[in-house]
Each structure stands twice: as C-alpha cells, then as structure tokens.
C-alpha cells in the first residue's frame, strides 16, 4: 500500500515540477488586471465594450509570451515528459469539468442580463462560486495546491469589493482596488518563483 502512495507522490512531483516556473501565476495576475484597468478606462470616456476590448491584445501578447518563455526558457531547463495514462485521463476530466463550469458561468451571465435588478446582490456571490469552482477543480486535478488559495482569494474579491462599494468606500464595485491588490500579489509570487526556478534549474548541455 505504501509503495502505491509513494509512486503517486512521485508522479505528482514529476507533474508539478512542470509548473514550478511561476508563469501560470503571472498569467492569472495579468488576466485579473482587466478588472483593474477596465473600470478605470470607462472613467476617461471609453465605453464598457471598448474598455473590455482593450484587453484583448494584452491577453494575446501575454498568451504568446507564456508559450515563448515556456519553450525557450522553461523547457531547456526542466526537459520534456509525456505524462502517463492516469495523468492524461485526469487532464481530460479537468477539461470536461471546466467546460461545464464555464458554460454555467455563461448561462449565469445571460441570467444577469435578464434579471439584473432582482439578482444584483447575488451576482457577485455567483461569480465568486464560479471562480472558486474553477480554481478548486484545477488545483485538485492538476495537484497544484496554491490554486486553492488563489481561488479563495479571487472568489472573495467580488464579495469584498461589493461590500466596500455598498458602504460608499470605493468606486466601480471595488474591483480596481481588490483585484489590483490580488493582481500585484499573484504577479509578484510568479516573478519570485520564476527567478527561483532559473536558479534551481540551470541549462543542461546534452550531447545528442
């Protein structure tokens, strides 16, 4: 029995090593920046649509940068693996569950459009539940423990923001403040992890 547990841990270690570079943390932090910059752009005359669209190129550049850094910095240091059968089936499960959750999120968005007045108070809570579900499923299936904490912190964002806004302490439902802090925290953790990764895993010269 103990043999099985050890091998499961070894497999987990192998898989989580691939995410030790902190790039995912930076990526999520940059995604959260939309909730900081977007509302502020509306203050200087941009429409809601324009403020949201303005982030598409930023996301695109971040996405491309993520893959380029993975390919040219991370992989030459950590190497390549093809996961085993169990991990592959875990990945399929996580993709199916995340698709279902995001579809629920899409339906929630449609509901909000139709019943905006009656569910206004519950909406931040619904968004928080969705964020928590996505983060927890990802953390559970990918064995990345810190995603539980990220999920919890990000999920608390809309609720805390709404509370602050209801008390007249902040503008824009508190999003720029709450998500601004979260974004800085996540990007900082990611950058620190990235430099630790670079130090821990020097480039290996292979004689092919």
């Amino acid at each position: 029995m103990s043999t099985t547990i050890n091998f499961e841990k070894l497999e987990e270690k192998v898989f989580t090593t691939m995410h030790k570079d902190g790039l995912l943390d930076v990526f999520i932090g940059i995604v959260l920046l939309q909730f900081v910059v977007g509302p502020l752009l509306t203050d200087i005359g941009f429409s809601d649509f324009e403020a949201s669209s303005a982030f598409i190129p930023v996301w695109l550049i971040t996405f491309i940068a993520y893959f380029l850094i993975k390919r040219f910095v991370t992989k030459p240091r950590i190497g390549n693996i093809k996961p085993g059968f169990k991990r592959k089936s875990k990945m399929i499960k996580v993709n199916i569950i995340l698709t279902l959750i995001l579809f629920t999120g899409f339906l929630t968005g449609l509901l909000y459009e139709q019943f905006a007045d009656s569910i206004r108070m519950q909406f931040p809570l619904m968004i928080s539940m969705l964020i928590l579900a996505v983060a927890s499923v990802t953390a559970y299936y990918l064995d990345i423990t810190r995603f539980y904490y990220y999920g919890l912190l990000i999920a608390l964002g809309p609720i805390i923001g709404e509370m602050l806004w209801n008390n007249g302490m902040v503008s824009h439902h508190g999003y720029p403040l709450v998500f601004g802090i979260l974004s800085i925290v996540l990007i900082s953790i990611g950058i620190i992890q990235f430099f630790r990764f670079i130090q821990a895993y020097p480039v290996v010269n292979i004689e092919e």
Partner: protein
C-alpha cells in the same frame, strides 16, 4: 550448490540491474510517465550526462528502456521510455523487495 532453504531470504531473486541506486531512480521516474527526455532525468536524478547515458545503455541492452530519437522544434531530442518488459521487471522487483522487507523480523 547448497540446497535452497525455505527460510532463506531470496537475495538472488532481486534484479541487480534495477537494484543499483542510480538505475533505480531512473526506472522509478520512467515508471510514472509515458516517456521523458535526458534533460528531465538529469535534473531530477542529479546524474551527469555521461553517467546517465551509461546507465541508460545498460537498461536499453536489457530491453528495459527504449530510446526514441525525434525532432522537437527542429532540434534533435531523445525521449526515453520504459518498455513493457521493463515495467514487468520493475513490478517483480518491487514485489520481491516488499517481500524481502516483510520477511525481516522486527
């Protein structure tokens, strides 16, 4: 040749090729993935390229490891995979070791 005693611990049944610490590490890592490259194994095991290469050659000769040469982003990349024969041998090794330790009195 002395007769086999039932109370004797079966040392001879332990696969010496796998039992060597560096090779045990290599086989353990390859056991939990479909395949991995040299860089990955060097980083995880702490072995040098030459050392790892020598152990892989021995495991390959025994038919436990398959060396797959491929190109990744136009650069040669060697992937290493535990063969079915290697997986079976490792399973037997694990069971033998488990039995071996269970038979040692407290």
């Amino acid at each position: 040749m002395p007769e086999k005693n039932e109370n004797q611990i079966p040392f001879a049944e332990i696969n010496k090729l796998i039992h060597e610490p560096a090779r045990l590490m290599i086989v353990s890592y390859l056991f939990v993935v479909e395949s991995a490259d040299f860089t990955f194994l060097i980083q995880q095991t702490g072995l040098t390229w030459g050392n790892l290469s020598a152990h892989i050659t021995k495991l390959e000769s025994a038919g436990y490891v398959e060396v797959i040469k491929e190109f990744k982003n136009k650069k040669p990349n060697t992937m290493l995979r535990l063969t079915q024969n290697g997986r079976n041998a490792f399973d037997v090794y694990r069971n033998n070791m488990k039995q071996f330790f269970e038979e040692i009195p407290e």
